[in-house]
């Protein structure tokens, strides 16, 4: 079994919330090395060379994202995105709770690499306990002299501000997150300008996911080649996958990218007794379903994209034959309708009417034509919104409507029954 322990090393065995425990396992050594031996460019180069792609959902190469920052001497910010709310994803929540110092070390390294002196940690409002855990870790690190002025006796100073969200999935979108951080409604901004040019307070800003940043200490420690040599060339490295749904041992598993889906299913204990997996959603609530015949595909960014879906945040939900896909579709459509910020009409209205239509189907009041309506409305609202939220409705809905159409048809009223009731 290819389960590895890189980011997850020590979780469940020792108390990594304690800074001394973390340091005894080599923690903050890379932070010290970075400040005393390396230039920011060295870290940026190592990150580029490692091929690390963002772990939040978009999969954009981290080194390239940093390279878009203008070299204009303006102040700049690093923001850690811990607004994890993609349905099925629970890896950042675990990293925050179990190994907050690793996350903090990643933030510090990222900030240093881009030349920032002020980093922000945006934590989802629901993670109240995680917020307290991280505040304690930050206080420990500050007391140890790892955060503040003249770190390790150098002239480098870094401040970290922790910011709690207040219940809005959309704030995981980076420009919405920046608005929320500025004390505004969490509505996404029009891009361009991208945050690298005009981000927080109008200054150059990089927003990176928790897992992305937590990977940096390991890339520094083991070298970019170590990371780049794992997995497929264009999707290198290790990834924490959150496996849930109809499996025997749901949980977070750290694996090399490129591990076949079937193997991931086995790692999570396989299907329940006497059941068969009929579908899998491989990349969070925004991704299209794959099916039983696709289980031998390797799990990496490009393979998923080639098969019409995505790796996304690494959230994998397995469905067995007992699944009611109409209810499952409603759960996700209702979610996106609820979380739409309301700026763009297609997303705001389309999501709402899809929810109404699915409710109508489920309550037995649907028409045969409603099935086509689901496909046509979800398709037409795609690609014409400011941010990807609206575009996230179609993939799962369309894939399960097409595949499990009889389930949907089974709920609708037949034309003859309407004639009789009239």
């Amino acid at each position: 079994m290819p389960v590895v322990n890189v980011l997850t090393d020590g979780i469940g065995e020792v108390n990594l919330r304690d800074i001394d425990v973390y340091r005894n396992r080599g923690g903050y050594a890379q932070w010290q090395r970075a400040l005393t031996e390396l230039q920011p460019e060295n870290i940026a180069q190592m990150t580029s060379d490692s091929g690390l792609r963002g772990r939040g959902g978009a999969g954009f190469p981290t080194g390239r994202k940093w390279s878009f920052l203008p070299k204009n001497g303006r102040p700049r910010y690093l923001v850690c995105n811990c607004d994890e709310a993609e349905p099925g994803t629970f890896k950042d929540h675990m990293l925050l709770l179990e190994t907050p110092h690793q996350v903090l070390e990643g933030i510090l390294l990222g900030a240093y690499a881009i030349g920032s002196h002020h980093a922000f940690m945006y934590i989802r409002g629901e993670f109240e306990q995680g917020y307290r855990v991280f505040m304690e870790a930050l206080a420990q690190a500050r007391a140890a002299g790892f955060v503040g002025q003249n770190v390790f006796g150098t002239d480098y100073g870094i401040e970290v501000t922790v910011h709690r969200g207040a219940g809005a999935y959309i704030c995981g979108e980076e420009t919405a997150l920046l608005n929320s951080l500025e004390g505004k409604r969490g509505e996404p901004r029009l891009k361009p300008p991208f945050p690298a040019v005009k981000g927080l307070y109008g200054e150059p800003t990089v927003v990176n996911n928790v897992e992305t940043l937590a990977t940096l200490p390991h890339i520094l420690k083991n070298g970019p080649q170590w990371f780049a040599s794992v997995g497929p060339p264009r999707s290198p490295g290790f990834k924490i996958v959150s496996v849930s749904g109809h499996v025997r041992r749901p949980g977070n598993y750290e694996v090399p990218l490129g591990t076949p889906l079937r193997e991931l299913l086995e790692i999570a204990g396989g299907p329940r007794e006497g059941r068969t997996i009929v579908a899998v959603q491989p990349g969070g609530g925004s991704s299209a379903c794959l099916f039983a015949e696709d289980l031998d595909l390797p799990y990496d960014f490009d393979t998923m994209a080639q098969h019409g879906t995505m790796l996304g945040s690494g959230a994998i939900v397995f469905f067995d034959e007992t699944t009611n896909f109409v209810e499952a579709a409603l759960a996700l459509v209702r979610f996106f309708a609820h979380e739409s910020c309301g700026q763009c009409t297609p997303c705001r209205e389309g999501g709402h009417w899809l929810e109404v239509t699915l409710n109508r189907i489920l309550s037995g009041g649907g028409l045969d034509s409603d099935i086509d309506l689901l496909l046509s409305v979800s398709h037409q609202l795609t690609g014409i919104n400011l941010c990807p939220l609206g575009d996230s409705i179609e993939p799962f809905l369309a894939s399960v409507v097409r595949r499990f159409e009889p389930q949907f048809r089974g709920y609708v009223r037949r034309p003859e029954s309407i004639l009789v009731s009239a």
Partner: protein
């Protein structure tokens, strides 16, 4: 809505005490953002008020606006965007079972049905005794232990209908592990302002036998009635002091406790 004089007096005293307690926290929060960007502290200050009072009262929003030197409408507009801010009083226990994908395919429907049946409330409603508020929440990032929920933002995992029964009994008995929220005003039937209503058959936008299209009442009368019924006037004037530090913005420069 008429307010008895003694109630006004007590509200005034209570809020003044709360505001005084939150003020030092607000100063610290504002100082943790770059100078010139005090507005960033708005969400954290509203969190601090909600922690103290159990909800974000009109007084709290007015005080936050005064401290940050922003119009009240800016604070209200921002607060209204975020579902965790309760702009009406809520129950002592905020019960939020997850209704998203991994929980739904693992029996969340039974959990929600049990809550509704035992409490006699729908989504986004508070029990008449003011003890429980009930909201079906979106993915809480604990899908490995579905169905899950939060009680006053603390996680409860691996739910079963029996576990729901035991939980509610423990809450009634005052022995539940998660402490109740503070409650400085009596909650009404719901706490969301001009937001979604209960998505029950017959509600607006949801089909029912008499209204298969689900169009419902679109006249706006219902909305006006709701707003009138739920009016919570600002009874306590905020202190006028601004906590915003003037001076040129110091973008991106390191700040720390030593400077403040």
């Amino acid at each position: 809505m008429s307010v008895a004089p003694e109630q006004t007096a007590s509200a005034e005293r209570d809020f003044a005490t709360t505001a005084h307690a939150v003020e030092s926290e607000a100063r610290r929060l504002i100082a943790s953002y770059p100078r010139g960007h005090a507005r960033s502290a708005m969400l954290p200050i509203l969190h601090a008020f909600q922690n103290a009072e159990g909800w974000v009262s009109p007084e709290a929003m007015a005080q936050t606006a005064a401290w940050l030197d922003e119009p009240l409408s800016v604070v209200e507009s921002t607060a209204s965007f975020y579902t965790l801010f309760h702009r009406r009083p809520v129950g002592r226990y905020m019960l939020q079972p997850c209704r998203n994908l991994s929980c739904i395919i693992n029996g969340a429907g039974d959990i929600m049905a049990r809550f509704r049946e035992r409490l006699g409330v729908q989504h986004l409603e508070t029990t008449p005794d003011g003890l429980f508020s009930y909201e079906e929440a979106e993915c809480l990032a604990a899908c490995d232990r579905a169905p899950c929920m939060q009680v006053n933002l603390q996680f409860v995992y691996d739910l079963t209908p029996e576990k729901v029964d035991a939980m509610l009994e423990a809450m009634h008995a005052g022995t539940f592990a998660v402490p109740p929220l503070p409650q400085t005003a009596s909650p009404g039937r719901d706490w969301h302002v001009a937001q979604e209503g209960a998505k029950a058959p017959g509600a607006r936008g949801v089909p029912s036998p008499n209204d298969p299209g689900g169009l419902g009442d679109k006249s706006g009368v219902e909305m006006i009635e709701r707003l009138t019924r739920d009016a919570y006037p600002v009874r306590v004037r905020p202190t006028k002091e601004r906590l915003v530090v003037d001076g040129p913005a110091r973008l991106g420069s390191p700040i720390g406790p030593s400077e403040h």
